[in-house]
């Protein structure tokens, strides 16, 4: 299998005009004279789209072509107002590169990137409003796309999904796309061809278009693979064609409209000049590139001494990684921060369906809270209570600890008097303790500690409690 991903670049204006790229406006409210292909209008290239494409190229260590050229791809379709799409055929901006995948079994699998080129998106046909007619909304026409084409290197659906997930992480790290599949910011076409076991050559391929979620990708691939197997087993032939995945019927079907012999009559877009990229431009972009996911993962493993699993979770998005690092800087305990972010923060965010950037508890506040565990001002248990409060109120954790007097009791006299009280109130258990074996003693000690903690409202320093209890009980024996 090979993949073509259409990635919507996160520019605020279109690739060749100054209209907004915001998703979901009133139909045709974001289509200016250029997007509508009004007579005499001309394209002018968006500098940020170029920068984003180069960033992607650097991100996968690909060749950046010093000269690249826009071409016209000519065909008639109502969502294509000019009657041609401005794309790149012979001289794409990004040449060969490789993409490394970490699969579940810890193996590294390399996917060859054939090329990536810039092009403009088409508009949208709306079928639901009218009976025998369609409506055309050109708001999306001219939104910048980077089409990323892979070699036919995928051998399983798992590889496809893990590539798409890794690609999603990469592009959001780079900040070049929001990678939102549901809104169509990342769309995927899959080329599938089968290979008979024991042979080297692949059969005829079909292209499945229009897949916009991980779940659908899995289902579309499985449907299409089975369809091809069935045909071949019945002695039939696969026709090279474009098929559309219909998520409602869960099937792929032939796109009749694309079947009429396509002859795109590509030629260099005469309204635009060649793009020249200098070494200086590339090195400036390289210097301003954010750390990439894999580099970050290795660094986390090395500097923070956390598990591979932790590193995977904590680098799964740039926001989580940034959050983590801020917490670590504040509390100075990488492992504690890693545990808390995963077990407390992400779990809670998951429940409330919020992203980390929407977290009610900022990294700074969580860091301060954890720093109070580290310096033994409060116990982990108290910290969880504090976390709950600041989750809903947004209060400052330090002020809260102060205000509610949650500081750990370190004064041994105070603890001693509580311990004494507990011993006095539990004479039976003490007797039992003194007369039993080591195993049962441990259990009873736990019970006494619990009682002391309870009477101190959880504030007593557990280490001190243990020490004092052991001392007192051994005095008795």
């Amino acid at each position: 299998m090979g993949l073509e991903v259409h990635l919507q670049l996160a520019t605020i204006s279109k690739i060749f005009s100054g209209s907004s790229t915001t998703f979901g406006g009133t139909p045709n409210s974001q289509a200016c004279s250029v997007d509508l292909a009004m007579p005499g209008t001309l394209p002018v290239f968006n500098e940020l789209a170029l920068k984003f494409a180069v960033m992607f190229g650097l991100g996968i260590d690909a060749e950046i072509n010093k000269i690249s050229v826009f071409d016209r791809k000519n065909y008639f379709y109502p969502d294509l107002p000019k009657g041609y799409q401005i794309s790149q055929l012979h001289h794409p901006i990004i040449g060969r590169g490789t993409f490394e995948l970490f699969l579940g079994d810890k193996t590294i699998y390399q996917i060859g990137i054939t090329r990536a080129h810039l092009e403009e998106d088409a508009g949208k046909s709306v079928h639901s409003h009218f009976d025998k007619e369609s409506g055309i909304d050109l708001n999306r026409a001219g939104v910048p796309l980077l089409e990323i084409v892979t070699d036919p290197d995928f051998r399983s659906t798992e590889q496809v999904i893990s590539y798409l997930k890794a690609l999603h992480i990469l592009v959001t790290y780079l900040g070049i796309s929001d990678g939102n599949m549901a809104e169509g910011s990342m769309r995927c076409d899959v080329n599938i061809s089968l290979r008979e076991q024991g042979t080297d050559s692949f059969g005829t391929r079909t292209e499945i278009k229009n897949i916009n979620s991980f779940r659908f990708i899995e289902r579309a691939i499985s449907f299409e693979t089975n369809r091809q197997i069935d045909i071949l087993e019945d002695g039939g032939e696969i026709i090279q064609e474009t098929r559309l995945y219909d998520s409602e019927l869960d099937e792929t079907r032939s796109m009749r409209s694309k079947e009429i012999a396509n002859d795109y009559r590509y030629f260099p877009e005469p309204d635009l000049l060649p793009i020249h990229i200098t070494d200086d431009y590339i090195s400036k972009i390289r210097d301003s590139m954010p750390e990439l996911p894999l580099a970050k993962r290795s660094r986390f493993l090395e500097t923070y001494d956390i598990t591979e699993y932790d590193a995977d979770v904590l680098t799964s998005s740039r926001e989580i990684a940034d959050y983590y690092e801020e917490v670590v800087t504040t509390c100075m305990n990488p492992k504690l921060a890693a545990n808390w972010i995963q077990t407390e923060l992400l779990a809670k965010l998951n429940k409330s369906e919020q992203s980390i950037s929407e977290s009610p508890v900022s990294a700074k506040k969580l860091g301060l809270l954890l720093s109070k565990i580290v310096d033994e001002t409060i116990s982990g248990k108290i910290a969880k209570q504090v976390f709950s409060v600041i989750w809903s109120t947004g209060e400052d954790p330090l002020l809260l600890i102060e205000k509610r007097n949650l500081k750990q009791m370190d004064d041994s006299n105070e603890i001693e008097s509580i311990v004494q009280k507990v011993i006095d109130q539990n004479a039976d258990q003490v007797k039992q303790y003194l007369s039993t074996d080591e195993q049962k003693r441990k259990k009873l000690l736990g019970y006494f500690v619990g009682q002391v903690m309870k009477s101190s409202n959880g504030k007593a320093n557990p280490k001190a409690v243990n020490q004092i209890l052991s001392d007192k009980l051994s005095e008795k024996s």
């Binding site: 005009s17 009004m38 968006n46 409506g135």
Partner: protein, 95 residues
Amino acid sequence: MPITPKQIIQISNLARIKIEQDQVNLLTEKIGEIISFIDKLKTIDTNEIEPLFNPLDAIQKLRFDKITEIDESDKFLGIAPSVRKNLFVVPKVID
């Protein structure tokens, strides 16, 4: 003839130009004359020559990523032949 009636029909289909049946032969002849005329170029040796796609010896200029266009859809939709619900209306599009 350098071009056949069948090719003329194919090309007119690609270009979305309708040709009446009785015009095909005449048009084949007319376009054929033009093709014979431009076929002169075939004899010229152009190996090693870089094509000149644009006489302006310059590189592509760039615009900043800035929204410079306001919503003028009322004006644009106002001159369109068929509009409903802010959409350009066409006969049913079949995928």
